[in-house]
């Protein structure tokens, strides 16, 4: 049988990291044991009128204590319900899902996160043992940035210029002459497009984590596909399943 578990788990810790940014630590030894950075869990709402699970990336994995951490932004009805959970409450989750980031410890890595794409990069920054440059892009308000301290050189961009480089993550990379031989990134699609372009121009391999509206989370329903360069072995067309074959792809594999 698989390493995927669906369980009702306890919330062990809750923090509000910023405006509508919530952090939950969840006790789930079976899921934590099998999880790696870049994977996600499906969160099932208590209100069954909201019937699709919410796919949320793993921000932290604590195998020793059997727990995971998720950090999400309240963007709709599902995440609003989740934001109301308290310590001690049950939360129904299934995971770990998706492929996760490749752990390449012999490279010099540039880890890039944009907005709510930042949380999974914290998990990766903790897991990777190589030299790391970390670039975090925000609109204005910062969150999680303190937790990256000590994991590598941290560079920040803000759209309003209130902290670090004014502009986006590529502006911060250029302004600080950030170097590396592999990129790991998660964030909004326009950012990932810019990173793919930058990586191609500089001949760097980039692994990007995509998101799309999902239903099943395990590769059955074909809701969350992205166009792929090559014909995919499973679908037999130029579509890859983000939930199952991703969410992390080598950037040249996919059209974004």
């Amino acid at each position: 049988m698989s390493q995927i578990n669906k369980q009702s788990c306890k919330i062990l810790k809750k923090e509000i990291l910023g405006t509508d940014i919530i952090s939950l630590v969840i006790g789930c030894p079976d899921i934590a044991t099998n999880a790696k950075a870049g994977q996600f869990v499906n969160v099932y709402c208590k209100d069954s009128a909201k019937l699709l699970p919410r796919p949320i990336s793993l921000c932290g994995i604590d195998k020793a204590n059997g727990c995971i951490r998720i950090v999400f932004r309240v963007v709709g009805e599902g995440t609003k319900e989740m934001s109301g959970y308290s310590v001690g409450d049950d939360i129904e989750i299934m995971g770990p899902l998706g492929n996760g980031f490749p752990i390449l410890n012999d490279k010099k890595a540039i880890i890039i996160g944009g907005g709510i794409g930042i949380p999974p990069m914290l998990g990766l920054a903790r897991e990777l043992e190589c030299e790391k440059n970390i670039v975090l892009g925000y609109r204005d308000e910062l969150f999680l940035n303190d937790e990256f301290r000590g994991l590598g050189n941290v560079y920040i961009s803000t759209e309003d210029g209130s902290c670090g480089t004014k502009g986006n993550v590529i502006d911060a990379i250029k302004a600080n002459a950030v170097e590396g031989d592999v990129i790991f990134a998660c964030g909004p699609t326009p950012m990932l497009r810019g990173i793919k372009e930058y990586a191609l121009a500089n001949n760097i391999t980039a692994y990007i984590s995509l998101e799309e509206r999902m239903a099943c989370g395990i590769g059955a329903c074909l809701a969350c596909v992205c166009k792929s360069k090559e014909k995919d072995h499973h679908t037999n067309v130029n579509n890859k399943r983000i939930c199952k074959d991703g969410p992390v792809f080598e950037a040249t594999e996919v059209e974004i």
Binding site: S48, L51, A215, C221, L222
Partner: protein, 305 residues
């Protein structure tokens, strides 16, 4: 006191399923992904995602959106084509003690017939002909909204099929019994209903359609009363077995369909909310039968008059 074991088996056009529960096409792939979570032999049948004569790319994303108590989808019948299906998916499903219902889609009558012919010598149990998908421009629902087309395509498939054929009907019609009668006139051995109801969702903040396809098929608990009503109407209009579906999430939902006249039931969207929904429906029906001393589902099928 020994526990009484009810007979959950049902007969669809001569094919005996161990229990009345199957998967609604398109929600379950060909079962491989869910086989990691539970034993597919617990299901009466696996109904596969629609397969065409050649691979289909499907629609652009977003393909899916949640709605209150339901969801709309416009996947657009992405499928790997019959060659891959025959090579990979049928041998996979044959490992399980469950019946195989293959959903067949096409853009023209000859597309459907080609798939039916390719499946003729394959070890599958039933063919479900999808003339009701609302998300493809050609074929699909276009065939399912015209009784003459329903009868013609049913007859064309029936002429080449070696397995019994089930016609899957659309609810997006004025009178579904007209389509049901047309399918039976064309030789349908059974009927599946309902497919999804055509819907739409608009993102007010962005002032745009949520789905790339603009419209999508509404499924989930929100449509169940419509589906139960249509199964009841069709069960009273024709004499072939019905596989009822539309918003079934638990055993009581499934029993509504059976009491309305369905022989078997499909669980679809509920699987996204609970990957174990299908097996829980099987277990729940068994419990209901034990509790109410029902020896066979015949006793309650179509019991509402």
């Amino acid at each position: 006191m020994s526990t009484f074991i009810p007979d959950m088996s049902v007969n669809i056009a001569g094919v005996v399923m161990n229990n009345p529960v199957t998967t609604a096409s398109g929600t379950f792939g060909s079962g491989a992904e869910y086989s990691d979570l539970f034993d597919l032999s617990k299901l009466g049948a696996v109904t596969t995602k629609g397969v065409a004569n050649i691979p289909w790319q499907g629609n652009n994303t977003p393909r899916i959106a949640e709605t209150y108590g339901g969801m709309i989808n416009a996947v657009g019948l992405q499928n790997p084509g019959i060659d891959v299906f025959v090579e990979r998916d049928i041998p996979f499903l044959k490992k399980y003690d469950t019946k195989i219902i293959v959903n067949v889609c096409g853009k023209s009558e000859s597309d459907y017939v080609e798939v039916v012919e390719r499946l003729a010598d394959q070890p599958v149990d039933l063919l479900e002909i999808n003339i009701s998908c609302p998300n493809v421009k050609e074929g699909g629902i276009a065939f399912g909204q015209d009784p003459k087309a329903v009868e013609r395509i049913t007859a064309a498939c029936k002429a080449k099929a070696k397995q019994p054929i089930i016609m899957k009907l659309s609810p997006n019609v004025t009178d579904i019994t007209v389509m049901a009668k047309a399918a039976v006139a064309g030789g349908a051995d059974a009927l599946s209903l309902i497919n999804t109801l055509t819907g739409m969702k608009i993102d007010v903040d962005r002032r745009k359609f949520v789905l790339a396809n603009k419209t999508g098929g509404l499924s989930g608990p929100a449509i169940k009363p419509v589906a139960v009503r249509m199964v009841y109407q069709v069960a009273n209009a024709v004499d072939v077995p019905i596989i009822g579906m539309g918003g079934i999430a638990n055993a009581y939902d499934a029993l509504e369909f059976i009491m309305a006249g369905a022989t078997a039931v499909s669980v679809g969207t509920a699987t996204f909310n609970n990957p174990f929904a299908t097996v829980e429906v099987v277990d729940g029906i068994r419990e209901f039968m034990i509790k109410n001393n029902i020896k066979s589902l015949e006793e309650i099928r179509g019991c509402v008059k």
